[in-house]
């Protein structure tokens, strides 16, 4: 059953706490009155139609954008100050596949904030190798990024995020552009991580949602929280933009524009 959760779940175990958040690009309102919270150890899947504001919400969580108003706290701090505790996994397809770099060098980027002049310390290298072992890629540490498959590249990106020693793992479309034959192995990696840390994952993959999510946050300018499993009607409603269309119709109706109304 869908349930709006506008009141954040406050408490010491809350990792993300967002209340009454508004964001606009120029004059376009992208996020409106967004409130939700993520408890420690929770796995929250963020879904919604394209242009609904998922990526914007991710940018706000990473502190790359600033909200017009409202409050967003991660571990009780502003997103910018909490960055060191966030592990971010972007889409692997974003990168130049021919960039001449080894797997280990990429994972070491997760330790950039601890980099000293002269190179990474032994401790940093040990953490990076541990992160690679966590995603079962330890034996590929010296392989070139260009030689990895899509699924392996995505696992390297997760290892890089793990090398940050995060308390919150943010993933952006982790299964996008991954071959189906590799996806199962990749999902196993995510399932193991789910036991260990708080995860927020933007995805279109409803199979992934049902396998890994504790609950679902649907973002379509406003947010609605849903428990799992999602009903067929809810899925249709989310992806047809039903809520938004209804909202727009009501707004136009209230302003005297009845072009979208069903009545005479």
């Amino acid at each position: 059953m869908p349930s709006d959760s506008k009141e954040p779940l406050l408490g010491p175990e809350t990792i993300v706490e967002c209340s009454d958040l508004f964001f606009r690009y120029g004059k376009t309102l992208v996020l409106e009155n967004v409130s939700f919270s993520v408890a420690k150890g929770e796995s929250l899947c963020v879904i919604g139609p394209n242009g609904g504001g998922k990526s914007t919400l991710l940018k706000l969580l990473l502190g790359l954008e600033e909200a017009e108003r409202g409050s967003l706290k991660i571990l009780g701090k502003s997103p910018e100050k909490a960055r060191s505790k966030i592990g971010y996994v972007p889409q692997a397809m974003r990168f130049d596949p021919l960039f001449p770099i080894t797997t280990l060098d990429i994972v070491l980027m997760g330790r950039l904030d601890r980099l000293r002049i002269g190179g990474f310390s032994k401790q940093c290298k040990a953490v990076a190798l541990g992160a690679l072992a966590e995603v079962e890629m330890a034996d590929s540490a010296k392989r070139a990024f260009a030689d990895l498959s899509g699924g392996q590249r995505q696992r390297v990106m997760i290892a890089r995020a793990l090398a940050c020693e995060p308390e919150l793992l943010l993933l952006d479309e982790p299964t996008a552009n991954i071959d189906l034959s590799i996806e199962e192995q990749f999902i196993e990696t995510l399932e193991k991580l789910r036991e260990k840390m708080t995860i927020m994952m933007v995805t279109h993959d409803l199979d992934l949602v049902s396998l890994l999510g504790d609950s679902v946050l649907c973002v379509n300018r406003r947010v609605h929280r849903h428990s799992l499993p999602l009903s067929g009607d809810t899925i249709r409603e989310i992806y047809s933009g039903g809520r938004r269309i209804e909202h727009d119709k009501r707004a136009r109706h209230n302003h005297g524009d009845h072009s979208g109304c069903d009545h005479e």
């Binding site: 060191s84 130049d96 980027m109 997760g110 950039l112 070139a144 260009a146």
Partner: protein
């Protein structure tokens, strides 16, 4: 070829040219690798062309105010750094008009240089040596300047290697780890600018981009680690520069032409071989 070796023994000008060619090859190999992997060849080309503005201004002020110390190479350094800074700011701030604005900086820099040279009093300026380069015009002070600039560039790359690589691979993630991606992007463009100043003497404004990009582009077809691409590029650059000088000297043609043709042929031939995989 024996003429060339005799000339090396007898003429300091050839020895200076060889020294500049070899020393600057280290800089070209390292910086060219960053240019190729970060895919900013067009930015490097824009910087190299706008350098003419600084060269023209230094010639003009040298002659008008009798500033003997103001050499073209010295004038080229601020021009390279200013255009690198401007281009960096444009690429970060106005992404949607990036190509147009870079083209404007490119042509504007060149035009300013040509205007200064046109109005400079005294004998006519050998414009061709700046546009197409003439390594045989290298003086002792050029050798010293080349060594200083090469040391500065290589020291900066050595000190900030990991951060520069991170910025080239993923700017956003670098910022998220508390490293100023913008600062290191500007640093990279500044290093490219200094490198382009070095290249003007060897290959000139127009041919310089080929000399810095082609060795790294060739190397990147056979190596898949950044450091191995750098080493191969350095070796190729030394071969092109020394070989180019040895071939061009007896033929009495500008060295830059031979160097660029050799680099282009080798790059084209590299496509006959499969890209290396681990």
């Amino acid at each position: 070829m024996s003429d060339f070796f005799d000339a090396v023994q007898n003429f300091s000008i050839i020895r200076y040219a060889l020294l500049v060619g070899i020393i600057s090859s280290f800089t070209f190999g390292v910086v060219g690798t960053f240019i190729v992997t970060r895919r900013i060849s067009y930015i490097a080309a824009a910087i190299s062309h706008s350098i003419l503005g600084g060269i023209g201004a230094s010639i003009y002020f040298n002659r008008v105010y009798e500033l003997e110390w103001l050499t073209p190479m010295l004038g080229a350094i601020p021009a390279a750094l200013i255009s690198a800074g401007l281009i960096g700011w444009v690429t970060l701030r106005f992404k949607e008009r990036e190509d147009t604005i870079i083209a404007a900086i490119w042509t504007c820099g060149m035009t300013i240089g040509l205007l200064f040279i046109h109005h400079a009093p005294g004998p006519g300026v050998n414009l061709e040596s700046f546009i197409f380069g003439d390594i045989l015009l290298t003086s002792q002070s050029d050798v010293i300047a080349t060594v200083v600039l090469a040391v500065v560039v290589l020291a900066l790359v050595g000190l900030f290697y990991h951060k520069l690589v991170a910025v080239c691979f993923d700017e956003e993630f670098t910022s998220l780890r508390g490293v100023s991606a913008k600062l290191y992007y500007f640093l990279l463009l500044g290093i490219v600018g200094i490198c382009m100043v070095l290249l003007v003497r060897v290959a000139g404004i127009v041919l310089s981009i080929a000399l810095i990009v082609l060795p790294a582009a060739t190397a990147s077809r056979f190596a898949n680690r950044l450091w191995s691409i750098m080493i191969i590029s350095i070796i190729l650059s030394i071969i092109y520069n020394v070989g180019g000088l040895a071939i061009s000297f007896p033929m009495e043609v500008p060295t830059g032409y031979v160097v660029v043709i050799a680099a282009s042929v080798v790059y084209a031939l590299s496509f006959c071989f499969k890209r290396r995989k681990n």
